[in-house]
Amino acid sequence: MSTITRLPELVEITIDGRPVRVAAGTSVFDAARMNGTSIPTLCHLQNETPVGVCRLCVVDTGARVLTASCVRPVEPGMKVVTNSEKVFNARKTLLELLMADHPSPCARQDKSGDCELETWAKAAGITQPRFAKRTVSRGIDDSSLAIAVDHDACILCDRCIRGCDEIRNNFVLGRMGKGYSAGIAFDLNAPMGDSTCISCGECMVSCPTGALTNKTVVGTSIAGGLDSQGFEAEELLQLPVFKGVSGTFLELNRGAIVKRRFHPGEIVCREGEFGSTAFYILEGKARVSLSSPIAHVKTQGGAKGLFKKLTSTLAARDTDVRAEETRDRTIPIDAPVDLAYGNPVAELGPGDLFGEMTCMNFYPRSATVIAETDVVAFEMLRNVLDIMMKNKSFRAQIDQNYRKRALENHLRGVPMFAGLSPDFIEHLKGSVELQRFAPGQVIARQGDAAGSFYLVRIGFVKISETYPGGELVLAYLSRGDYFGEIGLLGGGVRTATCTALDHVEVVRISGDDFRDMVERFPSVRQGLEAVAAERGAQNQQRMQTVKSVPIDQFLSQGLMEAQSLLILDLNNCTRCDACVNACADAHDGVTRLVREGLRFEQYLVATSCRQCRDPLCMVGCPVGAIRRRNSLEVIIEDWCIGCGLCARNCPYGNINLHPFDVMVEDLERPGRKKAVVKQKATSCDLCTHLKEPSCVYACPHDAAHRVDPRTFFSEMLGGGTAK
C-alpha cells in the first residue's frame, strides 16, 4: 500500500458512460472497482503486482485492441467500456480456451466448489468447450506434504509466483519451459517436496484454480467448547460475508474459524482477558459493557491527611485537559460502537465484528460481551481475519458499520468539532476515507507537506519527533484520538512523524474538507490554535528533560517496545552459561535465549523474546500459530508449520527455527506413522509452566533478571514517558 504523502492529482475518466474521478496512477481496473464496476480477473490479485497475463480483465478504451485493465493506468479523458459485446465475446472465448484444457472439475471445484475459472466459465454460460483438450499432460506433483500440485489445472496466471516472491519473499516458484510444456517449477524444477518450499501455503491460497490445493488440514484449533464446531469450507462460502475468500484457504485453516452458540446471559468474552480471536455475530444480539467500576483514574481514594485535603482544593488541576474532555464523552472499545462515559453499555447485532484489536494486535479484550438472546457467532484467529479484511465484501460491511455507528461519535469526540453542524457531520461521514496501515508504516512524515487530518479508528499510532541523536516519542494515540491538525493549520508542513505501531485504521478527512470546516466554523479554528499552542509548549518541555538523558539508545534498541526484557548484569555475570543450559533443559534441549546482543549501560540485553507491546512476529503467520493466549507471553502453538516468517519478522532475532521430530502419517503405508524432521519456531515463553523463568532461577550470581524496562530503568528515563 502506498503512503499518501501529497495531495494526489485527480484524473477524470468515464466508465461505461459514467464520469469518474480517480487519483492519477490508478489502474483502470481499480478505478472501475472503486466506482462499483467489477471486472472479472483470473491473474490479478489485489495484493500482488498486476501482470496482465490472463487477459480476462480486458476492456475497451477505444484503442485498436482491448486493453488489460489491471495494468493500464488511467489517462485523462479515457472512455472505458466494460460491458460491450466485444468485451463479452473476448472474455467468453478466453474462458472457453482455458476450460478446454482444464481438468474439470478440478480438485478445488471438487472440494470447495470455488475454482475461479470454472465459476467464471459457468457465469459466462460455457458448458462444453468447443476446442480440443491438450494431449500432453504436464503431470501431477504429489511430493509435498502439504500441497498437491496438478499442473494440468494450472492456467499459468503467475499468482503463485508472485505470492511466493512478493508476499512471502521465499522465491521458490518460477516459470519454466516454453509452449505447451510451459509451467510452474519449484527451484530448478525439483519436486515440490524436495525444493526449498516451506509449505506456507501462500501459493495455494493465491491459486485461482485447483492447480495448488491443500493436502493436509493444518489442524488449527481454537479452544472449543461444546458449542463450537469447525466446519467445511463449502458451508462457509455460502455465507455472503465470505464471498471472494479462497476456499482452499479456509480448507487449510479448518478449525481456525469456528461457529459458536451462546445462550442468553452467557459471557462471550470478558474485559481484560488476553485473547487472540475476533467474533463476528451472525444471529442474535449481545450486550457490550464495561463491568469494572468507572473511577477517575487521577483520584487517590480521597486526599489523605489534613494538609493534603486543605491544599488539594488550592492545587491546580492536572494539565491534561484535552484527554479528560475526550474521555468524558465516550470510551473507545474494540467494537463497532463506543461506550458512553456515563452509561457504558451498548448493543451488538448481526454483522458486527468485535475483538478486532485483540485478534490482530493481541491486546487484552476491551469490554465484556454478554449474549442477550441466542447468539450465533464466528470466532476466528488472526490469519482468517486478516484474509477477511482483505476481502472486499467483508470490508465493505465493516466500513459501513463503522460509518453508521461509531464515526459520528468519534467526530464529536474531537473537542474542536464540537461546534460543527449536524449536516456537516453527515457530509463528513460520507466523504471520509478509511485507510489501513500495516505495523511500522509511516502515515505522515515530519517535514512533509500536510494533506489530511486523521482520526484513529483502531490500533495505535506513534507520534514522534526526530532530533539529533534519535527519535523522541511525543505521544501514543489510540481509538478516538486524532492527529494531523497542526500541520494543516500552520504552514502546511508536518511537525512530527506519525507511525502505525500495529494494525491501524484511520479515518482520513481530506484537506479540502478540513479547510472548509475551519472557514465555516471559527470556533474550530480557535480551539485548534489553543491546542496547538499547548502542545508546542509541552513538547518543548519534554525535549529539555530528554536532552540530558541517554534515551536515544533506549529507543534505538527498541527497548521502549518491550514489556519484558531479559537483562544480564555484566558486572555479576561470570559467563558460565548456566542460564542457557537451564533454558535448554526446560525446553527439550533447545535454548530460547542467546547471551549475545547489544548492551545497555552495564546490562546485556539478551536475545530472548521481549513480549513486545506490538508483536511484529505475529504479523503474517499463515496459520495463526504464534499468538498471545491469556497472559503476557508470546507462545507458538504446536501446529506451527515452520515457515519462518515470525523469525524473520522479529527485529531482534528472538525466534529461532529448530528441527523437531514429528510423527506424521506415512503415505506409503497407510495407517502407520513415521517420524520426520520438521522445522518449528521456538521462542521464550517466560517459563509459565514453571513459576519463574528458568534462566533467572538458575543464575548463581544474581545476574539474570526479567524486568519491565520502563519500571526498571525508570529513574534513568526521567520517571515516565509520553502518555
Binding site: 536475545t607 523469525a647 529461532n656 543464575c699
Partner: protein, 288 residues
C-alpha cells in the same frame, strides 16, 4: 564436652572430634553437590544463587571445622594429604570467588564488543570473511574461498534451510556495496598490507609480533595506510580498523575468560579427590 579436658587430649576420634569431622564432611558434600545441582537447573530445589552462597560459606567454614576436627594436627600420611587437599581446595575457591567478583567488571569495561566465548572461533571466521569482502570491494577477488555452510544451527532467526531466503533478509554482515574503482597502483598498498599483515593477524591474533596486536601501533599503521589510499577507500579502511579492534578485543576476552574459568581446573578435580579420600579416611579411621 570440653575437648581439652579429655583424658587423651583433642583428636579426631573423640566425640567432639567426630562431630567436627562429620560436620566438616557434610559441608564438603554439600559444596560438592553444587556441581550436581548445575546439571538439573530446572528442578525447583532451591535457587542457584542460594546454592552458590551456601557453597561459598559452607565450603569456607569446612576448613576451620576440619582443623578443629584434627586438633590442628596433620596426623599421618592420608590425613596430611587430605589436609593439604582441603587447603588447596579452599584457597583456590577463595581465589576463584575473588576472580568472579572482579573480573566480570573488567571484562565489561575492557571488552566492549564481547561475544560468546565458545563462538569466538566462529566469530573470528566471520570477521575474516567480512574483512575479505571489504577488501575485495577495492582490490578485487583475493582468492579466498567462501567457507561452506557448516552443520550449525544459527540463532537470531536464521534458518539454514532456506539459503536463498536468508540472503535477502539480512545476512550476518552488511551486504557488499558497489565496488570502488581504483587503479592497480592505488590499491596495491591495501592489498599488500591485507595479505601480508592483516589477514594473518585475523587468522592468528594471539601470535606476538604483529603490529596489529597493539591498539596504538595498529592505529598508527592504519593512519599510515590512510595517507597512501585515496579518499574513496577511507570507509573501508575504517571498517578494517574496526575489525582489527574487534579481533583484539576478542583476544582480550579469551584471556580474561580463561582466567575466569581456569581456576576451576584446579578447584574441581582436587575437591573430588578430597571427597573421595575423605570418605576413605572416614571409613578407615572408624575402623581403626
Amino acid at each position: 564436652m570440653d575437648a581439652t579436658s579429655e583424658p587423651s587430649g583433642p583428636h579426631g576420634g573423640s566425640v567432639v572430634g567426630l562431630t567436627f569431622g562429620v560436620i566438616g564432611f557434610g559441608f564438603m558434600i554439600f559444596a560438592a553437590l553444587l556441581g550436581a545441582r548445575k546439571r538439573v537447573p530446572t528442578w525447583r530445589i532451591g535457587r542457584a544463587q542460594a546454592w552458590m552462597r551456601g557453597h561459598l560459606w559452607l565450603g569456607l567454614l569446612s576448613l576451620p571445622v576440619i582443623l578443629f576436627h584434627g586438633g590442628f594436627h596433620f596426623g599421618g600420611t592420608l590425613t596430611s594429604v587430605l589436609m593439604w587437599l582441603l587447603i588447596i581446595t579452599v584457597a583456590s575457591g577463595v581465589f576463584g570467588a575473588a576472580l568472579q567478583h572482579y573480573l566480570p567488571r573488567v571484562m565489561t569495561t575492557d571488552v566492549k564488543l564481547e561475544t560468546i566465548y565458545d563462538e569466538i572461533g566462529n566469530v573470528r571466521k566471520l570477521l575474516r570473511e567480512e574483512a575479505d569482502r571489504g577488501v575485495e570491494t577495492i582490490c578485487g577477488p583475493l582468492g579466498f574461498g567462501k567457507s561452506e555452510k557448516e552443520e550449525m544451527q544459527r540463532a537470531g532467526g536464521f534458518s539454514a534451510a532456506r539459503a536463498m531466503a536468508a540472503t535477502s533478509s539480512g545476512a550476518a554482515v552488511a551486504a557488499v556495496a558497489e565496488t570502488v574503482v581504483l587503479t592497480e597502483e592505488e590499491r596495491a598498498p591495501l592489498r599488500k598490507f591485507y595479505l601480508s599483515e592483516m589477514r594473518p593477524f585475523l587468522e592468528q591474533p594471539k601470535l606476538r609480533g604483529s603490529r596489529l596486536g597493539d591498539a596504538d601501533k595498529a592505529h598508527g599503521t592504519f593512519s599510515g595506510l590512510q595517507t597512501l589510499m585515496p579518499p574513496a577507500a577511507q570507509t573501508t579502511l575504517q571498517d578494517l580498523e574496526d575489525i582489527c579492534d574487534e579481533a583484539r578485543q576478542l583476544v582480550r576476552q579469551e584471556r580474561l575468560h580463561d582466567l575466569l574459568h581456569g581456576w576451576l581446573l584446579v578447584h574441581i578435580p582436587i575437591s573430588l579427590a578430597l571427597i573421595l579420600l575423605g570418605a576413605v579416611h572416614a571409613v578407615m579411621a572408624l575402623r581403626y
